[in-house]
Symmetry: D2
Subunit: 374 residues, 4 copies
């Protein structure tokens, strides 16, 4: 076992993905948390924000401005800030940690970038700010111009199982959204194999409330959410274009999907029920075979026996993704159900998985905790 | 206002739909509950089974065998027994209450039946036993021969808004399942109008746990259900053929749908997210127009403004069905979301609505309670 | 049955107690809702704030300032505003509706007040602003001077079963808090009978989240509240002095209680587990007898058989209070459990019950809805 | 770090405490699970019973009878069987693993026992079967004679922090009940210090549903438990005498407590709100000091700052116990709130903690997982 120690900073430690990183990294044998930021709680201990961490020995919270990037000895920065604010922050800190030339360079490709920069701090972003390759698409869906278009070119979309080699050498990884992770894992291999119709995909997703973050909003109140379910962002949720970007890449052609997120009364978890049309001559069993082969040997992606479908509660707290395939009663169609914990494989767990890759560790290091059930 | 008093029997009062009938009928100005059965609790007060009814004055529980149908003065029987047991019970009680000739008659049609029989007791069945017109389909999906095929011919499928005239003169009404109610209400008018493709319908439904009844099953335990969601009966749930029967009727052609029920941690409510393909030249707005016109003036079916979708919690405890229509981002497709309380419009409320029709009362009588939120 | 129509205004209709009043009053045969206020939503329909009311015909929301009290024909005002803001509002509207002399009069007693004033609008306040008789106690616990001390003298603390005669002739009723209602109902008769030690009372209460209102607070988020329980305001909750005021009155001596509220993951309901020390020679059965006699014939207070204790879910949505008495294993002590729906008997239901009394209606009018379970 | 490998058997692996042991031991660097029993599921894989374990490599389930105790190489047996069945099973397996003389010996004390027996398998029992020292008390509360009274004499009540030295040398540890753990941890040191009145203790406890186990009971259904709370076993719960046994031991005198458990809608967690009377001259701060000193340096017991109280959700999934102390408003009294995860510190976590002690490992080995929140 390596005795490497990675010094980690977590920006935005007062939110749920930040807290989840603390939970996971506290069990990681190779990580020391050296910086925790939370602008509005600067100066406090993390346990005043998250009492569950009273037993851990952690640095006090500071504001992002208080971090002296040039001086601090940090190997990796996890960025858990709200979308829209992250591009600027990452751009700034990458400058300060050795990327001074980034805007002056003519950076056309990731290779250009890597060649120019000395050992930089690695950045793993959990926001949406670097997920969309096309900055115009970003501007359209997020309502403002992209603030770091040069950096966007070097960002790697970090769905670990599908981008492993790129992630290993990346300096900036954009961790996928939770919904996209649950949808892309089962669909990308099937599209790549041309076994399903790229223009007839329905993704019906159900999410726990932690996906809405810790902001105090009426719509996230216990009284407003418990005892019911509703769809939201129907046909216009921002994870739609993110899913389409990656599925289009896999299919080798542009495609549009139906994607409907629902909010339901559970803390964690996403379950996506996916309806696909089979290509001529393809059966539901074929889809199952493709996925089984594709994910054989993967530590965190588990394809269930044909005809079985997973429950979200069986991945809670873990980095697992479970996938099931069933034949539809309608001829020529199949139903796929996938599930992840939105805060782990859908956010902080995948971030740690990516970190492990980026630092040459076994991918499962610090991520072996089993689901908490019941 | 009529001062008519309807004397009602509830068979199976120790289950949730039975209790829900007691709740609703206790507020009905024209109903007196005169018989309550619960075989295993015979002799007890209902409040020992359901403590919430401690303030009501109700008859003691008896077993079905203890009811002397020939002598008891009952106008309507609500049958809340498990499927498979109901056909025999209803056949027996209809005999005893004036239907003695039923098996000897050559009954080919409902009209034959009504002509022959003297003022019979009305039966409103909440089980699945009389929902499927084709007794072979029943046998296939429920695993045993239909025990009252003659009666099946006279049973009316009681989705109130779609079968009002038949229900008014029916002696035996088979109340629709909860999932079917949520799916048929929005889809039947669109199929009848030939505005959607009958062969490309996905019904993704999410249900509360009361739909599983009060039986003590591991899968319904709090610890097994809370904090998660899972699909079940994927591509083989018994409500599938029921939905298809009614949608085929509306479409004028046989069709098969994708129907995926999910179990989620709420007591009451069903939300169905429905994906449809538009006929040539039809828009999502057209669907909305069709539904708005179709349900204008209906007391319990409310079509939201175009683009809005409902939340299950906003119908809890009420007989309302809410329907929303949204354009899919995929051209030529639309998304429909409908919701009901599975125990009210999906069971006992619709049963009372049907009773009102059968006895000439205003359809809303006793059903004006507003949703309980939060 | 009277055909009287009471014209009602609800101030603060965008909160949960306001919505609950709408739900209840929509079923009340003698009430017409003529004014609904919600300052920040003025001009909107109530269903944009509370979609569950889409089927009701209600006046649009206005701001309180927009109400022309002098001109509007209102018989009763329900005031559902936050504490601290209510004294001023009620003082103003009482002036404008015929109480012009209120500050100039030398009002020493309720009788003075009633004698002087012409037929005024009746005010039923659901906030805490008029619950504490001693304005100094109010100032101490609520952090600001009482803004309408003259009015305080005429306010009646409206726990219906204990103050029926005063409520009948009151112009201003201060509806009790939810915790106090659950605690005072069982304890006041026992203190009055001198059957328990006034100085040894522990009230351990568990409340649903709706008691915290609809304000967007981190502490009320689904993610912060579900899956756990915690005590709050231990030994310093504002309902403590309110409980003590009424229990001291019943006991005929000042007393202090231990009162610990807990927040738990349910929408509605309060369950109070109360530990008392018996007076010499008194048994737990004696307590049960006292309460049974005291509440015999009460429509909404139900004392269970000795040794049985109630569940909060069996009163949800109803105006019932259930009380159980059990002998402690410790000699000379007893345990009492009481439960109410905090939004009904603990707020809006009791308000309607008081309105019925104030207007000479049967106390149960509009309040016969049975609990919603499951 | 030791490289010792402990071979563990889990009897009753299809229940929640069994599953929780699998979850915890799968992360324990020194444990290999070699036997898993579940009589009714013998021959199946554990993941068919608990799908969350699909990624682990575990032995198949067998029946207890199928285990050849004489031959199998097992170091520790965790016994997760229902109470009443456990005494016989443990007696049998201890015989078969080297305790053949146990009934023939005149065993009067633990020391006798340890002296006689060769290196036996260690047994850690999570049931109630060996918790009550007095076999008559056991018979009175559990309704049948104790089946292994000789073994009872050597069993150690395993509340780790209070019985560390005995546990280190024990062969049979009876892990405390969940409620008792939450109550004894704060109260025992205060009684030992004579700072509180032993005859005036109220323990009001709130528990999640997993405490009721995985048996299919109506009372544990989601629909029966969610949205409410109720007390049960008031004044006659079996954990009462267990609490009293240990508190009497600490106090040096017999005592009786008020103990009221409540069932509430959460999966895990117990929160106990405890009301105590202070000895003359003692203050609430003194209690806080006593507990702070007593638990200083304990890895799993954390005393919060004076005046702060814990939330159950902040220990979920972890082995922590949190304790808070507040002054009551009633002079001479204090309120203590303690919380644990009933399945971890209240069962399987404490069992592993005890195992660590019994095998000479650091007490925290395998137990460092942090709470899962939200």
């Amino acid at each position: 076992m390596t005795t490497q120690t990675i010094r980690a900073a977590i920006l935005g430690a007062s939110g749920y993905t930040g807290a989840e990183l603390v939970r996971l990294l506290s069990q990681h044998p190779n990580v020391e948390i050296v910086v925790l930021t939370a602008d509005r709680r600067a100066g406090e201990k993390l346990e005043t924000v998250f009492p569950q961490f009273g037993a851990l020995d952690l640095p006090d919270l500071m504001s992002i401005e208080q971090v002296e990037w040039a001086g601090v000895d940090v190997d990796v920065v996890f960025c858990c800030l709200p979308h829209g604010t992250t591009q600027d922050v990452i751009r700034g800190l990458m400058h300060k940690t050795g990327h001074t030339l980034i805007d002056e360079l003519v950076i056309e490709t990731r290779e250009d970038y890597i060649a120019e920069i000395r050992k930089p701090v690695k950045v793993i972003d959990l926001s949406a700010d670097f997920r969309l390759e096309n900055v115009d698409t970003y501007a359209e869906w997020y309502g403002h111009e992209h603030l770091a278009p040069s950096l966007q070119k070097v960002a790697v979309y970090g769905l670990t199982e599908l981008a492993r080699e790129k992630i290993k050498v990346a300096d900036l990884v954009a961790c996928p959204g939770c919904y996209p992770t649950s949808a892309i894992l089962p669909l990308a291999p099937l599209l790549a194999a041309r076994q399903i119709d790229p223009n007839d995909i329905v993704i019906d997703s159900k999410s726990g409330v932690s996906g809405a973050g810790r902001a105090a909003k009426e719509g996230s109140l216990f009284t407003e959410v418990s005892t019911g379910i509703h769809a939201y962002g129907v046909a216009n949720h921002r994870h739609g274009p993110e899913i389409e970007q990656e599925l289009s890449r896999a299919a080798g052609q542009d495609l549009v999907v139906a994607f409907t997120p629902h909010l339901m009364p559970m803390n964690r978890g996403i379950l996506s029920t996916i309806y696909v049309k089979l290509a001529d001559g393809v059966t539901a069993e074929d889809l199952h075979d493709t996925l089984s082969v594709r994910y054989e040997g993967e530590a965190f992606v588990n394809v269930l026996a044909f005809g079985q479908t997973p429950a979200s509660r069986h991945v809670a707290g873990s980095n697992y993704a479970l996938i099931g395939v069933v034949a539809d009663r309608r001829p020529g169609r199949a139903i796929i159900v996938s599930t992840i914990d939105n805060l782990v494989k859908g956010a902080s767990g995948q971030a740690v998985q990516n970190m492990n890759l980026m630092f040459g560790l076994a991918e499962t290091t610090g991520l072996t905790q089993q689901p908490l059930f019941p």
